[in-house]
């Protein structure tokens, strides 16, 4: 593996890990606040899948970095400006409709992304993707069911679901952006060319939203910056909570 490819792969594994840990943490904020017990448990399960995914990506990043850092250093010892996650993942949990809509947008993204990543020439990335594909099927079924139920539900749930879609839509464009790092990896059969995935994602999402009686928004605005470390203020607050124990008691074990 050449240095350029290795560094790009390290960056890529970190990005994918960042997406997963941030979304996983956001979902975990629902634990003990779910509308009923089964839903509470479902949120816990999905959060665990994402955090588990993050651990695998970070472990791989740490292997590539080979500088003594571990998965924990990647998760707990980097600040918001070092994080490279997509902004969609860091948006606050909002109300239940907002969280489920974000989940649908993200689950649909992984539904189109993972079958490509599984083809990666990088064995570790392909193996992580193979594991995640099976879990994502369950995630998408759940978020799809909820968006249908809420969108095609009461006047209030329909209103909140539409509002969530309108508020989140502008954060989805970034999901399909490429930069030099990802282009290099895509050209070498290691990374995924996400710019080619938007049509498939849009078709999947818009069919579900239409069935849920939700209007698919016009592409009138877009916010970008996650992949370059320019985040919304939400991420800093989230990391503060997520990292405080690890940073306050370095090396603590129990």
């Amino acid at each position: 593996m050449s240095d350029a490819i290795k560094n790009a792969t390290l960056e890529y594994a970190t990005r994918l890990g960042d997406d997963s840990v941030v979304l996983g943490h956001r979902i975990s904020e629902w634990v003990s606040y779910g509308p009923f017990l089964e839903e509470d448990i479902a949120y816990g399960n999905v959060a665990l899948d994402y955090i588990g995914r993050a651990r695998m990506f970070y472990t791989y990043a740490a292997d590539l970095a080979d500088d003594g850092r571990t998965e924990d250093d990647f998760a707990y010892m980097r600040s918001d400006r070092d994080y490279r996650n997509l902004l969609l993942m860091e948006m606050p949990r909002g109300d239940f409709a907002y969280s489920q809509v974000r989940q649908l947008l993200a689950d649909a993204y992984y539904t189109v992304l993972l079958p490509e990543l599984v083809q990666s020439k990088d064995e570790t990335l392909a193996a992580i993707a193979a594991k995640a594909i099976k879990e994502t099927k369950y995630h998408l079924r759940r978020s799809r069911d909820w968006v249908l139920r809420l969108g095609d539900g009461t006047e209030e749930s329909q209103k909140r679901t539409q509002k969530a879609v309108d508020q989140l839509w502008g954060y989805t464009h970034e999901l399909f952006d490429m930069d030099e790092t990802e282009q290099l990896l895509a050209d070498n059969g290691i990374g995924v060319d996400v710019s080619k995935l938007r049509d498939a994602w849009f078709k999947l999402v818009s069919e579900i939203l239409t069935e849920a009686t939700i209007t698919v928004p016009e592409d009138s605005w877009a916010v970008r910056g996650g992949r370059t470390g320019y985040h919304t203020e939400n991420l800093g607050h989230m990391l503060t909570e997520m990292q405080i124990v690890h940073r306050s008691y370095p090396g603590c074990e129990w």
Partner: protein
Amino acid sequence: MPEEQYQRLQQRNAADVKELWDLLDEVKDPEVPVLTIWDLGILRDIEREGERIVITITPTYSGCPAMDNISTDVTKALNDAGYSDVKVKMSLSPAWSSEWMSTDGRKKLREYGIAPPEDAELDEDGLTPDAHALCPHCSSRNTRRVSEFGSTACKALFQCNDCNEPFDYFKKI
């Protein structure tokens, strides 16, 4: 016997460290204590590299929190048996499949009150169905899914309409 299980059994019987496979039968899954890590298919390989014993395990689900416990338990079991140099490796590929679960494990699971993977037919999307998993308590098929996500990542929650008992179903993946 399904092909996957046959292959595993062949591997175990052919191994030159057969006594170590037998020894690790004492390591149970912390969440489903009737199953050994062999039964679950989590234990993938045992190799001897000089004095060092290298154990390969694979996670059932990405975030399965039992994996850390299992690593510790494996190391302890081997240390207690006099093997001081133990390394536990995590292997992600091939991804774990419920097909790897041993025949004996499936039986033990049912007796414990958890429906094993083959006790429900997958739906058209290849996912856990919304009904008709076999009740491990009264063997009725008249059951319904209460939640796709159960007490652990590997299980879904069902309830029997005949005996009314809730039960876990070990998902087929």
